[in-house]
Structures are given as structure tokens and as C-alpha cells.
Symmetry: C2
Subunit: 267 residues, 2 copies
């Protein structure tokens, strides 16, 4: 089986992703699709008068500031607009998709961070009212139940904390956890670039292959959002997923292209 993660950035061709996945499912492939929704969340948050904020952790990762109101907007976009838009496209393409957030059946369960240490204007600060965390447990039996009965699970953050609060988690790392928990053959991470680039955003500097042993080194090439994708890949490989591919979601048949070895292959 394969886990496909498709981002929520501009330029991504969701129609092509859904058609491609539906045709793979019809050929008998078992697929779990995980998606994001970051770009639309930014747009809707602006429209609703609660503009997005981003914070940078002391370890250098950028993440969305998620107070309770942001979480509500996040759910509207990720679980409402984007998830149901994808389910509708997949149904139209002939795949019997079922959309689920990490809350549903405690599909993605994890620890809410008690405090986030961030850097703001060059100074350290601690956030305590943020609803973010990391997925530690995947409800594999719910995914298997749906797959075994002919459904295609379409999974989105948020996750659920051990105390049953909705928490914002990174979609790439959630997809990595799903892939390793499900013992997937392959994790395909699609975004609006052709793969990992040596000199971002110069697409001619695409890195074609990374040896799993050298993945930590390759983190130095990863810029911005791509850093967390590489972290997700590292976690998936460490937890036993055979192969991770970074592919391009702007093209036709993007999943088949990644399966055929286009993009950056790790493994």
C-alpha cells in the first residue's frame, strides 16, 4: 500500500491528483491520502478578521500560531472545504472516498505541547495557549477497516490530544506516521515544486536520489516548508518505510510520475 500526502499550497493540481489516485485505486492499489490546506487557511483567516501568524521555534522550524480561534478556522478549511472538496473529486472519479480528521475515531492521537519556545524579534519567548502537538499514535484498525471494505481514507489534520483537544499537527509528519504505522511500501509527498532542490527555488538543481544514510545531511538543502518535509521523510525511513518520494503536484498523473521515480527518491 502507499500513503500519498498532498500539500495545500498554491499551484497544486488537486483535480489531477484525485483522478490519478482514483485510477490507481480502481487497479487495486491500496491508498491512504493525506492533505493540507495552509494556503486557503491563510486566505480565509484574513477574510474572517483573524489574520494568520507564524512563529519560529528555537530549533528553527516555522509553524502556524494556533490559538483556539485559529483552530476553528483551520477546521473549517482543512476538514470542511478542502477535505470535502477532495472527497467530492474522488467520488466523481469513481473512488469511494471517506474523509476523516485526526479527531475522528482518534485517528491521529498525540501530545499537545505544554509550551512552545519561540524566537520573536531575536528574543526567546514561551507560548502556553497554543494548540499544537505531534502525532504519536495512529488508529491503524480504523484505516484497515475502511480499506478492507473498499473505501479510500482521505485524512487531514487536526489531530486529537490525549486529553481530547483538537491540536494542529504537521501534515507531512502525520503522513509519515501513517505510512510507518500502516507498514506502507512507499510514502509520496507531493508539493508545488519538483522535489528537493539543491538551490531553492532553482528547479534545475533537483536532487534525484538521496541515500537514507545521508538524509540528515540533506537537511541543509531544505528551505522553509521543505525542511519539515525532509524531517517527515527521515522519520518514515527510520520507522521502516522502504521509500519516500518527493513529487510534483502541478503535473498530470503526479502519483504515477512519483511511482515511476520522478522527483527526489529517498530509499
Amino acid at each position: 500500500m502507499i500513503v500519498v500526502k498532498v500539500g495545500g499550497s498554491e499551484g497544486i493540481n488537486l483535480d489531477a491528483v484525485c483522478r490519478d489516485i482514483a485510477s490507481l485505486v480502481q487497479e487495486g492499489e491500496r491508498v491512504v491520502l493525506v492533505h493540507g490546506g495552509s494556503h486557503r487557511t491563510n486566505v480565509v483567516a484574513e477574510q474572517l478578521g483573524h489574520p494568520p501568524q507564524f512563529v519560529t521555534s528555537v530549533s528553527g522550524f516555522t509553524s502556524r500560531r494556533t490559538d483556539r480561534q485559529t483552530l476553528q478556522i483551520f477546521e473549517m478549511v482543512y476538514c470542511g472545504e478542502v477535505n470535502k472538496g477532495i472527497v467530492e473529486r474522488l467520488q466523481a472519479a469513481g473512488a469511494n472516498a471517506v474523509g476523516l480528521s485526526g479527531l475522528d475515531g482518534r485517528l491521529l492521537e498525540g501530545k499537545r505541547k505544554e509550551a512552545i519556545k519561540i524566537i520573536e524579534n531575536g528574543r526567546r519567548r514561551v507560548l502556553r495557549d497554543d494548540y499544537t502537538g505531534t502525532v504519536e499514535r495512529v488508529n491503524v484498525s480504523l484505516l484497515r477497516l475502511l480499506l478492507d471494505n473498499g473505501y479510500l481514507p482521505v485524512v487531514t489534520p487536526p489531530a486529537i490530544s490525549f486529553e481530547s483537544e483538537a491540536i494542529n499537527v504537521d501534515g507531512d509528519r502525520a503522513a509519515a506516521m501513517i505510512a510507518s504505522s500502516m507498514k506502507a511500501d512507499q510514502l509520496i509527498i507531493l508539493s508545488n515544486v519538483p522535489g528537493l532542490l539543491r538551490n531553492f527555488p532553482d528547479e534545475s538543481t533537483l536532487i534525484r536520489h538521496i541515500d537514507p544514510k545521508q538524509i540528515e545531511e540533506s537537511m541543509q538543502h531544505a528551505e522553509g516548508r521543505m525542511r519539515i518535509k525532509v524531517l517527515g521523510a527521515l522519520e518514515a525511513i527510520q520507522q521502516g518505510v522502504g521509500k519516500v518520494t518527493f513529487g510534483d503536484a502541478r503535473i498530470e498523473a503526479p502519483v504515477r510520475a512519483a511511482l515511476a521515480g520522478q522527483g527526489t527518491v529517498i530509499g
Copy 2:
């Protein structure tokens, strides 16, 4: 098993509804929860600059004008904010809830209306770009699969058309279809009034019992949104559900109150 429908109007105590259902589920009751989200959809549609519009059909029913942009906002609120808010509350109360729209697994499938005949300023007009319809088929096997495996399905419109478009359907009538398809013992429809009122909004005129044979007559007492609830009840009774109760969702333990015979009992 029982089907509970809770509306999306102001004044409804969702916390109490969820606590009550979770405790019933823990006692072994099989429950499917269906919910609305009309009030919040109106608020968010205003905020997003696409104010709600309502149309009155030639047969006298009022419904939401659902163009494609309204449908997107509808999904944000019903499937995102409201559905995940309810799932989070139920999980916190110890019930393993799974939220599903009618699109997911084609749970609620029906016919999109090709044209809606409405009355506007006293004149007849035909709408052709509306995404509304009526549920004709419930994916009973998906609901059973979840119930049999210990999950509590939390169902929301929209439904899916036979052509795989999202369509706005009435939540009360969808709940009636679920109740009859699942051969439920009882359908409980909770809203922000104590039940069916002889003289709306005078709550002292609560009708305590309606004989199923006289349900069509009682339609004359139903005002506004309550008319479609009575229509849902009529459909459920005609299709074999033993008992329909209109209960009050503003009180503590609202489901147990309805099960104990409070509200308007039909059957």
C-alpha cells in the same frame, strides 16, 4: 438503536447533547447523531461577504439558496466547524465519534433538483443553478460497519448527487431517511423549542402527543422551520420508524428527556 438529530439554531446546548449521548453509548445504546449548522452558516456567510439568501418554494417550504459558493461555505461550517466541534466534545465525553458528511462513502445519496420553482415578490421563478436535492439512499453498511466496531457516527449534510456533486439537503429529512433505513426504534429531533407548539412561539401550547394517523393534520400547527421537521417525522413514520419525538435541546440531558416522553411524541 436510535437516531438523534440536533439542529443548528441559536440556544441549543451542544455540550449537554454530547454528554448525554456519550453516556447513552457507554451504557450500550447504538446511536447515530445527525446535526445541522444553519445559524453559524448564516454568520460565516455574512463575514465572508456572501450573505445568506432564502427562497420559498411554490409548495410553501423555505430553503437556503445554495449556489456553488454557498455550498463551499456550507461545507466549511457543517463539515468543518460544527462536525469537528461535536466530534471533539463526544471524544472528550468518552464516545469514539467519527464525523461523516453525506459525501463520505456516498453516505447520503440523492437526486439534485434540476430546477426549483420559487415564489419571489409574489411571482413564480425557476432556479436552475441551485445545488439542492433530497436523500434517496443511505449507505447503511458504512453506518453498521462503524457501529459494529464501537464507533459513534456523527452525520452532516451535504449529501452527494447520483452525478457525484455535493448537494444541500434538509437535515431533518436526512435524519428521517437514516432512521428508516437503519430500522431505528426511534428518531429524536432536538431543536431550540420544547416540541411542536399549537400557537408558536407560546411554549405553554406544547402538543404532547400526536397520533401517527393525524400527523398530516398537525402540519397546520407547524410554523416556519418546524414544518419541515413535521414532514421528516411523517416520512419516518410512513417508512416504519416506530416513534418520533420532538425534544428540547436547550436543557440538560435532552436525549434522555425525549426518551422519557418529554416534548411532542408521535407514535
